[in-house]
Symmetry: C2
Subunit: 252 residues, 2 copies
């Protein structure tokens, strides 16, 4: 399993990914799922991957070969993020066809984020079918892998005007909730910022299992959540099971 998040706010993009891969519960490895490219100065891309590791690795290798070989279509020749996503989807489908055909166990999915000069930064999700969707004002974040556990906090915090550092913290909290509930998502946790219109990747962190910050964040969030919970208005019991319709009680 995997959990990756890409959040596109006005200030830029946050990328966050776990590093656990497993082929069965008894075959667990650690692989980074966060990649950049030898991009021309007018563009910057980050790719996060989920699903079958052989398929995603061969896709990535091909993308890089295409850059090196200056192929007619490559990450440096495309003129929009959407075009890049189409191209990645096509390369991925070729790799999938070669090894897996229609077996879902060979499928992968991707998050691509970045910016090309002259257009806005944004994030797209490339599905295992090779097609893609984009982030938007109403949907500023996209996820791949085990996405449900970590969704509620993102839904509450992330808005278009959320500062980049706040969005990054929220991604880490979302990752923490997911790691807590699904053993197949695990550290190291990588987090990377892309600041809008800068065309470089700088702020990055990789939190290992024994990371003091991650442990502190985990403990602090757990404690503050419990404190918040304890401040909720107490339940009022206005009704009684006696008043419930008979068809719920089996008397009819």
């Amino acid at each position: 399993m995997t959990y990756c998040i890409a959040i596109s706010v006005n200030a830029g993009i946050v990328f966050c990914s776990d590093s656990r891969t497993n082929a069965g519960i008894d075959q667990i490895s650690t692989y980074s799922k966060m990649f950049s490219f030898n991009a021309e100065p007018d563009r910057q891309f980050v790719l996060l991957s989920a699903g079958n590791l052989a398929t995603s690795q061969s896709t990535l290798t091909q993308l890089r070969q295409d850059i090196r070989n200056n192929a007619p279509v490559n990450m440096n020749s495309v003129s929009t993020i959407g075009e890049a996503a189409d191209y990645i989807g096509q390369v991925y489908l070729e790799k999938l066809e070669k090894h897996g055909g229609s077996y879902t166990e060979f499928e992968s999915s991707f998050l691509l984020g970045g910016q090309i000069k002259g257009s806005q930064h944004r994030v797209v999700k490339i599905y295992s079918a090779g097609n893609h969707i984009t982030s938007s004002a109403d949907t500023p974040y996209l996820q791949i892998g085990e996405s449900k556990y970590g969704t509620p906090i993102l839904d509450r915090i992330i808005k278009l005007d959320t500062p980049l550092e706040t969005a990054a913290l929220c991604a880490l909290v979302s990752m923490d909730s997911t790691m807590r509930s699904n053993l197949a998502v695990g550290p190291p946790v990588e987090i990377l910022l892309y600041k809008a219109d800068e065309f470089v990747l700088s702020n990055y962190n990789r939190f290992n299992e024994d990371s003091e910050y991650l442990r502190e964040l985990k403990k602090s969030w757990d404690q503050k959540l419990k404190e918040a919970f304890n401040l909720l208005p107490p339940l009022a019991w206005a009704a009684n099971w006696e008043n419930v319709p008979e068809n719920n009680k089996g008397a009819v």
Copy 2:
């Protein structure tokens, strides 16, 4: 879709269920998913249901007919919760076979909780295959339906010695997070307490869409979560993407 929770703590059991059913996104209805039985004074059961409505309704009808007809095996004749779960599983499989056979769209699943005099109260989850698992000291709560969004808060709060009222509040918060993230889970929200060794069902509430308490809880939790989030230790950027291995960056 559906979301039901049953939490078994030392003090008793909390049952919580939503009331939205849908057959496709354009066919949405409201049905209670919480049921009790005309039980003998030495026992009390509550059943929560998810999945195909025709299958779960026909199962429930049969369980009640068996009580009325004093069938050799019925909810008043079984001597343990496990036996009750076996019996329900069998009745369910007969209904499934009759109408749906092996089509998964006809499957249902159930949470059964309660107590029979002389043994501990507990909760079991009856899978769509008809088999079941029980709650335990390590796993005090069980869920059916859309369970992932609401899991993190349960994992953090629920312990065996959690007071019944606190567990009930936690179930509502878990329900709130789920309703926020999945449109197919919706009000009215029903919540019911069973106090250990009392063999009656009393404390009950049904929160409609316009329930002031539910709206207050939702608002309060949203606000307190954001406050808690804002108190987290800020991210430290110890590293830089420059230091990341070359194979992540495509230079090799």
